[in-house]
Subunit: 296 residues, 4 copies
């Protein structure tokens, strides 16, 4: 068990924005992130959305607007930008899978997925470590091949931006170990165990413990589960040495039938952690622990 | 622990044929399968290969030649044909993933992947339950979306061919549970736990036990690992209630530096099982256990 | 995961009363149990203590005084009396283990350990399922042989008092399965997994999951850990299908350096459970779930 | 997985000698140990028996006769003497547990349990790490309190005899960690995981993995299970980094209905290990690995 953790708030995802509190515009996303930081989140994990479709976007202007607003605010959370966008592949259907369906597909080159990171230099950005089926608004393949991962990790190393390696199943940790062996990531890698996402690892404790067992020895890691398992995982994470993540990307409810805001989710998280005797780290303490490089 | 198991011999895969004993032509594949059956394999799992490139093929004529020769032989193993071919996606590289690279890509519709099964009516064919990175002769994506799996399972149900659901990581079992819930597979599904394949579940016992824990309650299952873990898994499988699989698709060596034949791998498997007190089932006993339908 | 649990409060143990809030006299014990029930505990687990030595006692008069006071109160929790007393064996030392040291030894016959249960007919009493080293005020052997367990279980069955089978290590569950096979306990046995007690099972998740795996299929169970792991286990228990237990028998602190009362521990427990979305059951709901027989 | 292991043969236990091949007299025991060594056992684990009752004995003259005969033979296995005798406590029955039943009880001081070790100076002797119910010829308590363990370990350290720490359940490893912390055992302790013994840890893989997880980081360890699980554990042990133990103390059969000799059990063990690619170590290699001190 660990006695102090940092909280990441994943303020908005890239899928359908299914409840009114899910922030959509840059201003909404920034404001929700700022409120989450005020509530106690040390890290804010950011996607951006197209204002019209309300779906996830890769537009650097949107990221820029969010990041600037957060940076100009009176709080200073660690900013963690997604790089997951641009890896969505929707095939043409069971009968004729190729060519891919242009309607849902958003596949670009490894470096193009980092354009917003190059410009905005967040302290952290994610790196999704694997390829798997996903069931979102429609079924798609989350696509991250070994070649893409190497290219992205090499560029992030050059930029000095720390990747948060997101793993969604036991085999995804092999990518982590390969990046480590190839010297493309830090030997104290930052890892996020993403549990209970459909077609990825289920959120039971046996599977979780199997994944923890395969972490690199010096890893700093978080673990979360989605939906109604979000809060139980807040209590579980410190027991297995993990930091915590909550937020509207992963769970929409404060309790059964009661829609949440990001700040409420963070506040509730702190209430749980305090009651089980776990201290919550500040952004500055988190920066020090993760040896983050502020570049802006 | 179970006290009797059936042995599947995976006589040749679809990747590079890396040692001289790996059968390539239909005659070689059939003969190797026949020898494996004589040695004690109840089930022979079959891929076919292009004689020139020596790589995996989907050509129904090749399957036909293999199956006829086995059926005309003096042994009568259960025939299990792969349906994995036709789901290989090679992207255009880290910088421009789309369009896919036609050189390595072989992606066809769900039903086209079953053409040889429609014609030859084996008692079993595989169904790979998931999408993931693969590191074979070159890196590719093994592609099996929920839509493809449903279409293939529905057709197999209609044909009366029993699918062997191959799972390569913990999340792949979600596909099994969904097919089960949708009534597309038998409520005593036949499952193969494929361990230690790069970018899939590692072959350690903790991960294996996590997967076993999520099997449907009435599943009949096998488990194997590749390379030098093939034989240790022969002894391990009955301990966790699993049947065994060996063969040149998964492992090329009888012992360090000593190339194997399929018959030798099966013979060694039987020697191990006998010595730990586990009886080996005949093809007829296996047919009865799996409620297979001979249709030809 | 289960969505509702009952809380047991273990109000005072039999070891040294190490902080001022630990109740000692019957009046103190009853009052503390009553406050715990008011705070939300459905079950109160009761030991009694000698007022002079402040150590655990088996005196029926003390149990009687506690039980009467609780029964006359305005709350009606399920009463769970210990039967652990009378099984303490202190050997004569490493050099001459026999005869036992009369100073610490308190070993009586199986039925004599039930005298207070015979008289007071609580709805539940504990049955410690195993023999092991214990490190309390001094080192002693917690002694419960198969013969003792059978004799006690048979008598409890006759009395209609439901045993709570306390297990302290993986092998103790064998006693549970033997009692079940012998028809001496209900086929929906009530089990308490006691974790982190010195010389018993450690409180890590892997060991816990190994124990859960061996529970009888229809068991109703709780799980707790001692010391600073008490509250983390409150959050963990519902995740593994378990009800919760807290109380000064197992943990003296509300937080680092802050001594607790039983009512405070229960209140904190409810705060945690509410925040992870788990409902707390009332005594009446617990009686129904456990099919308890009120006999008085 | 480890690629080479040493084999311990437990040639005869202390319980009833249930089949004719179980050696009873010193000559029989020595001869059986010699044959086991010739078959490939690097270590022979020795109990002695009273020729009349055929039950276990602590008589130093019997140990002396066995050890001398082995030492004068043409093989030179590592000798491992039990110190388990002298810790058997049979209570007076469920109704009147004290005084103990002199008929079955054999309880002596810690140092008296080492008399034969003091005289004969084997390279290894066992140290049973815990107290628990045992179901042998009759039910008894295997008694090893923390005080006894400290006294025995301290004496063995002085003598330069390496203890093999036998653990029978998860909590027993706490004794190992305490002895380690107190400097009473080597920081590369030799540990035996004893699985499937009634009232101790069951022999399933989940429990086994929980125990492996708690081993001291530099431990050298073996693992075995009894009865029909003896041979499956031979194959399993190297997978979890463990050496192997077989012998008539733990299992009487070579296969269903076919009584074994110790040499046959060892021979079978080697056949299994060879077939899964694990090399068997010689006594000299084992001595080097365990840093044993030959003192005679």
């Amino acid at each position: 068990m660990i006695s102090e953790v940092f909280i990441t708030c994943a303020v908005t995802g890239g899928g359908a924005a299914k409840q009114p509190n899910v922030p959509v515009t840059p201003q909404q996303i920034a404001d929700s992130a700022i409120e989450a930081a005020r509530a106690g989140a040390a890290v804010v994990h950011i996607h951006v959305r197209d204002a019209k479709t309300r779906r996830g976007s890769r537009d650097p202007a949107l990221y820029r607007a969010v990041v600037q607003r957060i940076r100009e605010s009176d709080v200073n959370p660690v900013i963690n930008l997604t790089t997951g966008m641009g890896g969505d592949l929707v095939l043409g259907g069971a009968d004729s899978p190729l060519p891919p369906d242009p309607a849902g597909t958003d596949m670009v080159g490894a470096l193009e997925r980092l354009v917003h990171v190059e410009e905005l230099r967040p302290e952290i950005c994610t790196l999704d470590c694997g390829t798997m089926n996903f069931a979102g608004h429609s079924e798609y393949i989350m696509t991250n091949t070994p070649g893409m991962l190497s290219a992205m990790a090499a560029r992030l190393k050059h930029l000095g931006v720390r990747p948060e390696l997101e793993v969604f199943d036991t085999g995804h940790l092999i990518h982590v170990h390969e990046l480590l062996k190839d010297g493309l990531i830090d030997d104290q890698p930052l890892i996020q165990l993403c549990m209970g996402i459909r077609y990825g690892a289920p959120d039971d404790l046996t599977t979780l413990m199997a994944m923890v067992r395969h972490l690199p020895p010096r890893a700093v890691y978080s673990a979360f589960a989605i939906g109604r398992m979000q809060f139980p995982y807040v209590a579980l994470a410190p027991l297995i040495g993990a930091n915590v993540r909550v937020g509207l990307e992963d769970n929409l409810y404060l309790s059964r039938g009661r829609l949440a805001t990001n700040a409420e989710l963070v506040q509730r998280t702190i209430e749980i952690l305090e009651r089980i005797g776990v201290r919550v780290m500040s952004p500055e303490e988190t920066r020090e622990k993760l040896a983050l490089k502020v570049q802006v």
